[in-house]
């Protein structure tokens, strides 16, 4: 019996997508389409799992209760777009082709593209162990990406959209400015190219990491205990990063999944309790606007950082 995700993706491709591609004269996308469907399925399942786990938690022990949840619905849209639509599309239309092209070019120059399995041949066939090692490396890279996003004014202008949410829930993880998303994808993509993350492993890796990231944004009084909080980022730990007094370069707890990097580089703060979230320095549209109002407000803030610099 094969993997149910693979078989479902295969069924969808065979019975829906390929006949459609054939009708529209787009059969050259046939090979890519299977991967796209497969990881859209992973994304949908991951949204469902996140919903199934986090929603009961948020009802059980919420940090805050709000009179209405209107601001949260925009975050739902962000999540679906990011996990079911944009992420798989990006991965297979851009990342996959870029990886083959760049690594092939490197091979031609006589330099074999690095892979963990190349460095440690014992890892060949050890997919779970390789997966964990790649996850740790990518999490380390993401710590620095996130830290830099808080240091540069232009980057913070984009990233502040993520911090503007005063009603932070597990849906908030994906509320990002599109340009901030592009930077993050390029950052991840380059790192993945450098360390040879397999194309098939990359989306699964990102989706797994992002489930944990969603949980860390949840509106729930949940800590993993003294030791647990030092092994894996909990909602309590990450909430301190989103606190209203921690916006911009005064923040702490930049890690996404593992708190180890914050502990190692002195940015960890385990003392801050369940604080209020938001960014008082940003305009209101960033917090409560529609999807496009938020995107536009983020772009304006981004542009202002350059106009002030040149003024």
């Amino acid at each position: 019996m094969g993997d149910p995700f693979d078989l479902t993706a295969g069924w969808l491709v065979e019975h829906l997508l390929i006949p459609m591609l054939y009708q529209f004269g787009l059969m050259n996308w046939e090979d890519v389409s299977y991967n796209w469907v497969l990881f859209a399925l992973y994304g949908a399942a991951q949204v469902a799992v996140t919903f199934g786990v986090c929603l009961p938690l948020e009802h059980w022990r919420p940090v805050e209760r709000w009179p209405d949840n209107k601001a949260v619905w925009v975050d739902v849209a962000y999540t679906v777009l990011s996990r079911v639509g944009v992420l798989p599309l990006f991965t297979y239309v851009l990342f996959y082709r870029a990886q083959v092209f760049v690594s092939g070019w490197m091979t031609d120059q006589g330099w074999v593209p690095p892979t963990l399995e190349g460095l440690f041949p014992a890892l060949l066939g050890q997919q779970v162990l390789t997966f964990v090692l790649y996850a740790i490396i990518l999490d380390f890279a993401d710590y620095w990406r996130h830290w830099l996003a808080h240091q540069f004014r232009w980057w913070w202008a984009l990233h502040s959209l993520h911090h503007a949410q005063r009603q932070m829930t597990f849906w908030s993880d994906d509320r990002n400015h599109l340009l901030d998303d592009v930077i993050a994808f390029v950052w991840f993509g380059v790192i993945a190219l450098l360390i040879g993350v397999p194309p098939l492993q990359f989306p699964l890796l990102v989706l797994t990491l992002r489930f944990l990231e969603s949980l860390s944004h949840a509106n729930v009084r949940l800590s993993f205990g003294w030791l647990g909080d030092r092994l894996l980022i909990s909602p309590r730990f990450h909430r301190a990063h989103h606190g209203i007094k921690a916006a911009g370069d005064r923040s702490c707890n930049y890690g996404a999944v593992l708190p180890w990097w914050d502990m190692l580089f002195g940015t960890a703060d385990f003392a801050r309790d369940y604080v209020h979230t938001g960014d008082p320095s940003g305009e209101e549209a960033l917090a409560t606007g529609s999807y496009w109002q938020q995107q536009w407000a983020g772009l304006r803030r981004f542009a202002r950082t350059f106009s002030r610099r040149t003024a």
């Binding site: 019996m1 094969g2 993997d3 693979d6 078989l7 993706a9 295969g10 069924w11 491709v13 065979e14 390929i18 006949p19 054939y22 004269g25 059969m27 050259n28 046939e30 299977y34 991967n35 996959y96 082709r97 990886q99 083959v100 092209f101 690594s103 092939g104 070019w105 490197m106 091979t107 031609d108 074999v112 593209p113 892979t115 399995e117 190349g118 041949p121 060949l124 066939g125 397999p198 194309p199 098939l200």
Partner: protein, 317 residues
């Protein structure tokens, strides 16, 4: 003929019980399933680096080459045991074939838009043809002078002269061309974006005839006796047998799950990879029924070595 000789060589060179061994390349596994041809059971799985697709026996019959596209690696296996002999860096090896005289190896780099010609003995790169776009499958003229390459994204077929290492012509042949085959002095091209195979004049590249086979005509294989042409239709989910001399269809078999590559087993059974079903079909062309073997993700290329000893324990490194 050379292939039959090699299989014969492999048969007599093995001293153990000769039930045979089959290799199925799981493109998105990424791995190679090793199947005991006697029991139809998968006995082991050889891990590969990233994304293997096609495989081919070396002219001396001592190695089975497996091209790993995203891994930029050519892996060499012992065709009798599956033991990994060596790994060699090669850029984007998608489909590849040795010339009939065994002197050249042509490698299509599907995503890197290149056709590489190597000296088969030394694996020295002799010539790189940049192409537009996505070189998919290839076939040689019997005299090894010309190689024909389907260019999937530009709906064309390209012909390269291997004596002068120059392009002869590039001509439109139909939507999304995939499989290429030399047959009876003509070049056949399976046009995956259509329901036909194009019969092409090898001298000019002009399409002489279009033969309807089924929706998404993908790849073609000639039976060992060269009398039957087998065509897999990706969209229609069918395999069609045709008279190789007249190209008249004989029978259509329903093979769901994206039929792709074909190998012929002794006794007349036909092994077909089913990309989306993660299975291999073993078709009995007389009854039209088929049994299946579960393999890994997206099975693509396959190779049967009926003379090899029964694979009970195969090294996976």
């Amino acid at each position: 003929m050379r292939r039959l000789f090699l299989l014969l060589f492999l048969s007599v060179s093995s001293t153990a019980r000769a039930d045979g061994i089959a290799f199925i390349v799981n493109s998105r596994g990424p791995s190679i399933s090793v199947i005991d041809m006697a029991t139809h059971k998968e006995v082991s799985r050889i891990p590969t680096l990233r994304e293997p697709h096609h495989l081919m026996l070396t002219p001396d019959g001592r190695s089975l080459m497996v091209g790993d596209t995203a891994g930029n690696q050519m892996m060499y296996l012992n065709p009798n045991t599956g033991e990994v002999q060596k790994r060699m860096p090669v850029a984007d090896p998608y489909q590849f074939q040795f010339s009939p005289d065994g002197k050249l190896l042509t490698v299509n780099g599907l995503l890197r838009n290149q056709v590489d010609v190597y000296d088969a003995a030394s694996m020295k790169l002799l010539k790189r043809f940049p192409v537009v776009a996505t070189p998919s499958h290839l076939a040689y003229s019997p005299d090894s002078v010309t190689v024909f390459v389907s260019l999937q994204d530009s709906d064309k077929l390209a012909a390269f002269d291997l004596r002068t290492m120059t392009e002869k012509w590039t001509m439109p042949v139909g939507k999304t061309p995939a499989g290429v085959l030399w047959l009876n002095g003509k070049v056949l091209v399976a046009d995956m974006g259509t329901d036909f195979i194009a019969v092409v004049d090898p001298a000019t590249g002009k399409v002489l005839e279009r033969v309807v086979t089924g929706q998404g005509a993908h790849n073609m294989f000639l039976s060992p006796d060269r009398k039957i042409l087998w065509v897999n239709n990706r969209v229609g989910g069918t395999t069609v047998s045709m008279d190789a001399a007249t190209l008249k269809p004989i029978r259509t078999y329903a093979i769901p799950g994206g039929p792709d590559d074909i190998e012929f087993a002794p006794g007349g059974k036909i092994w077909i990879t089913r990309r989306f079903a993660e299975k291999v079909a073993i078709l009995d062309p007389v009854t039209g029924s088929f049994e299946t073997i579960n393999v890994g993700r997206s099975p693509h290329g396959l190779f049967l070595n009926p003379g090899a000893p029964s694979p009970t324990a195969v090294s996976s490194r």
